[in-house]
């Protein structure tokens, strides 16, 4: 009985705050359907690691073992990328390759945030915080971990929270920087046939080009493209199916709960965490601005105008952002279907965000 009281007296108020944060993440996952596959394990993990004398962490703790086995060596995010690569259909980009430029444009938020974050944080932490703007969880984990950031937990929470909040964050920003006339621009979609050979060569060429130009990105790009090659080769359907479902789900379970080891109150409950959440928002806002503004710039020279809203889908956050843009287009004009164009930009953003992650690593590791 005395031991029980000892444990109860060992509770710190900061741990109770972390239980509340864990509870909030679980609530958002279940009730609001916000990135439940990650926010729920992270929320539960936040409670687990913040129990007094928690046996889940510490040198012998199960979560510490999982962290060392899967995150410290970047294995989990890379394996998850195989699953993500197997899920992505690059056909919309292959039938209209110029859309890839808007994926690059929408990485602006990463580099803008990098500049702002460097005012408050050491370069490796600033770069890790900036990569929240990649709107891609595995890339954020990979970069933050490789750069040895002490803020991995806060970066993860910010990255996944804002990815879930894309339908709330992007529309007001897009509306603020576009005119109604621009939002009404219609874009016809005529699907161009893409050969099987092209689909097979695409992941190989992307890996080679990205590897030659930005060698640090080759693990991220390579695993993503390996997953895509399994999907497109046509002879590994059961592997593709496994990568998309079983493998991705399995790694996601471990990734979410293991990331929570970085949510111990001593590392998490700091003013820095609030600042990181603020900088994450800056990254998402300026990603959106970058994508839309380059699309507007394109329209100055193009005969056939694009609806600049599709530029915002380059933020990655696949497929949420594409859906948001399509919904906004339909709201302005119920016959304006932008989905396929936005999906093309969205998958381009997936590639560009990985390239941006590789370049950040090249610049700061």
């Amino acid at each position: 009985m005395e031991i029980l009281w000892e444990f109860i007296y060992a509770i710190e108020w900061q741990q109770i705050v972390m239980w509340a944060i864990g509870g909030l993440l679980i609530f958002l996952a279940i009730k609001k359907d916000m990135e439940p596959t990650l926010l729920l394990p992270m929320g539960f993990g936040a409670i687990l690691v913040n129990l007094p004398n928690s046996g889940a962490i510490g040198p012998e703790g199960a979560l510490t073992t999982l962290f060392n086995a899967g995150i410290a060596n970047e294995l989990f995010p890379l394996i998850l990328f195989i699953g993500i690569g197997a899920m992505i259909d690059f056909t919309p980009v292959l039938s209209n390759p110029k859309l890839m430029i808007f994926g690059a444009a929408a990485q602006f938020g990463i580099f803008f945030t990098l500049s702002v974050a460097s005012l408050f944080f050491a370069p490796n932490d600033a770069a890790s915080i900036a990569i929240i703007g990649a709107a891609d969880g595995p890339t954020s984990i990979f970069v933050a971990n490789t750069l040895g950031s002490q803020y991995t937990g806060a970066i993860m929470v910010a990255a996944y929270s804002y990815m879930a909040l894309v339908p709330i964050v992007q529309p007001p920003v897009i509306k603020a920087i576009t005119t109604k006339k621009e939002r009404l621009i219609r874009m016809d979609y005529a699907a161009k046939p893409v050969s099987k050979l092209t689909k097979i060569l695409f992941p190989i060429i992307i890996t080679v080009v990205a590897g030659l130009v930005a060698p640090e990105s080759v693990a991220l790009v390579g695993f993503l493209m390996f997953g895509n090659l399994i999907r497109e080769c046509g002879v590994l359907n059961s592997l593709s199916d496994t990568a998309q479902k079983v493998l991705a789900n399995l790694v996601t379970i471990f990734l979410g709960i293991t990331v929570a080891t970085k949510m111990h109150y001593e590392a998490f409950l700091k003013w820095d965490t609030l600042l990181i959440l603020g900088l994450g928002l800056v990254a998402f806002v300026f990603d959106t601005v970058g994508g839309v503004m380059i699309a507007k710039l394109y329209n100055l020279f193009a005969k056939k105008k694009l609806n600049p809203m599709i530029g915002a889908a380059g933020i990655s956050a696949f497929p949420m952002s594409a859906r948001v843009i399509n919904k906004m287009g339909l709201k302005e004009d119920n016959q304006n279907f932008l989905l396929m164009h936005a999906v093309g930009v969205n998958v381009s953003g997936q590639i560009a965000s990985v390239i941006a992650g590789g370049l950040i690593l090249a610049l700061f590791s």
Binding site: L94, P97, M100, F120, A126, T198, F202, A352, L359
Partner: protein, 51 residues
């Protein structure tokens, strides 16, 4: 008691990092540009594969 402005805000770090940020974004465009060119080439030659 309070940290001075220069203790919290590191302007010199920002001036160091700004060029890297600029090169970083430019780098994303350059790599993407190469990829776009590669995809156009693929489209040109890859379509023969299904014939």
């Amino acid at each position: 008691m309070f940290e001075s402005f220069t203790d919290v805000i590191h302007l010199e770090s920002m001036t160091d990092i700004l060029p890297a940020a600029g090169y970083g974004w430019l780098g994303v465009f350059i790599v993407t540009g190469v990829l776009v060119a590669a995809v156009y080439l693929l489209g040109m030659f890859g379509s023969k594969g299904d014939k």
